[in-house]
């Protein structure tokens, strides 16, 4: 393997390592909330600095490759996608931390009805994250497109939870603190889905060389 290809491979491996960390942070934060598992929430908080450190390392590797190798075509698309995916992963990690913090706030609160939809929404979001990263690993544009389709469903779920929480708070002002926490969780999950969508769009650029962001080119 050429030296350059070895460097590209290292970049790919580091990015996969980072995506593994972030995927597990999302999983743990959601389960900390749903199962009231304090230990899982703390693990998410502890791992945050590793994710941040990796973001810097990956950016550094990518910029170095751009500067020294002047890549073109598939290599150029891979490296620019890697930089963007890296940034999305770091933001997803932050949002997992935010969910873990809300989980700790809610640890000793009575369960709220809306939790029924939060695990459902979390499942959908986790599957979008997993698919977007699988699509990246396998360079699978069909899988990436399936992520884009799910985004609207997540938005609908978030809106449903908002409305439910508003009613819930109107009925009983005592419930405002837990309801607010759940609104923040729903918002974090929805944003994680947005980042998964970004990654899927980057995969389409990587594989097909097309830009589907903001419907610049058709998504289907």
């Amino acid at each position: 393997m050429r030296h350059f290809e070895e460097r590209l491979d290292e970049l790919r491996k580091r990015l996969l390592e980072m995506s593994g960390l972030v995927e597990s942070a999302i999983y743990r934060s959601v389960h900390a909330l749903v199962e009231k598992d304090e230990n899982l929430a703390h693990q998410v908080l502890e791992n945050e600095s590793r994710v941040n450190q990796m973001e810097i390392e990956i950016d550094d590797m990518a910029v170095r490759l751009l500067a020294l190798e002047q890549p073109v075509a598939t290599d150029l698309r891979f490296i620019t996608s890697a930089i963007k995916i890296n940034n999305d992963l770091e933001r997803m990690g932050d949002l997992a931390v935010s969910i873990a913090e809300r989980a700790l706030n809610l640890m000793h609160e009575a369960p709220v009805n809306a939790l029924v939809d939060i695990p459902y929404m979390a499942n959908l979001v986790e599957s979008m994250v997993r698919k977007s990263l699988d699509a990246f690993v396998k360079k699978d544009s069909d899988l990436a497109r399936s992520v884009l389709i799910s985004d609207d469903a997540v938005d609908d779920l978030r809106n449903g939870i908002y409305n439910e929480m508003v009613r819930f708070m109107e009925e009983n002002p005592q419930r405002i603190p837990p309801a607010l926490n759940l609104i923040f969780v729903a918002r974090s999950l929805e944003r994680i889905a947005d980042h998964a969508t970004n990654i899927a769009e980057d995969v389409l650029f990587l594989v097909e060389g097309i830009d589907v962001r903001h419907h610049a080119e058709t998504r289907t």
Binding site: F4, Q70, V72, A73, T74, D75, L76, R77, E208, G209
Partner: protein, 276 residues
């Protein structure tokens, strides 16, 4: 749409300078239209059925590994390849609407100038190098000649460096200056096309940058074709790029598409260094 399988039909559409939908070539005014060009060195066929159109007032880069035919192709455009014995050419090349093979050679080479890899100034003064074509071709004398020499040296971005030493030998200039002098000499007769055959491969990065900057200003006056071994140079300077391999034109595309997402796997393999 079968982007790759339809390439030849898309290419022939491109040759007519027509609009092609989607991510393919946008329409352009063609300067050269080449159809079914074959070229032979004796029994060896160096170019196979090349058809393409070269956009006017743009910079077209020709890339490909050594021996792929890109220089041979460039040299057929002003019939320089005919200077080599036992060569044979088939097909059609139109400059504007005129068949170059039925044109007067002197006229063709005045309209289609050429600059070579190694700077080749005449062993004369700087002034006389540029004045040469003007005297022979244009009948310029006296002040008109001096003005035309200055204009060409300015266009070639060399005037400020040599204006006080026009009587000095051209051979005393640096390599980069000599190459710009050769460009000034070519420009003096107002060519419509400038063919550059690896014009920077003997130059350092600073001299290279000057020539590249110069190309951007020159495309206002003429159509430029450049053969280069440096893919970075092709990417930096050109609007369109043709990729040659084993005497065939594999892909002709807008440069940014060719370097971001080429249509053909052979192009991808070559430009990413996974060739062979």
């Amino acid at each position: 749409m079968g982007a790759v399988t339809n390439l030849s039909s898309m290419r022939s559409e491109a040759n007519r300078g027509e609009q092609i939908t989607g991510r393919l070539l946008r329409s352009f005014e063609p300067k050269f239209r080449v159809s079914h060009l074959n070229f032979y060195y004796g029994a060896v066929q160096a170019l196979h059925d090349i058809s393409l159109a070269i956009p006017q007032n743009q910079i077209t880069a020709l890339i490909g590994p050594s021996g792929c035919g890109k220089s041979t192709f460039l040299r057929t455009l002003n019939r320089m390849s005919e200077t080599i014995r036992h060569t044979r050419v088939e097909g059609e090349i139109l400059l504007g609407d005129e068949d170059i093979f039925s044109m007067d050679l002197v006229t063709l080479r005045r309209r289609v100038g050429m600059v070579f890899q190694k700077p080749n100034p005449f062993p004369k003064t700087i002034f006389d190098n540029v004045a040469y074509g003007l005297r022979v071709n244009g009948g310029y004398r006296g002040a008109a000649l001096a003005d035309a020499v200055e204009a060409s040296l300015r266009r070639a971005a060399l005037w400020d460096e040599v204006k006080d030493q026009l009587g000095k030998s051209a051979l005393a200039l640096s390599g980069g200056q000599q190459q710009r002098l050769c460009i000034a000499r070519a420009l003096a007769v107002n060519p419509e096309v400038l063919l550059l055959d690896e014009p920077c491969s003997a130059l350092d990065p600073i001299a290279t940058a000057k020539i590249e900057d110069l190309m951007f200003t020159l495309k206002e006056y003429c159509t430029i074709l450049i053969v280069t071994h440096s893919m970075q140079q092709a990417a930096r300077v050109s609007t369109h790029t043709g990729f040659f391999l084993l005497g065939k034109l594999i892909e002709f595309n807008e440069t940014d598409i060719l370097f971001k997402k080429p249509l053909r796997k052979e192009t991808e393999d070559y430009i990413t260094g996974r060739f062979g």
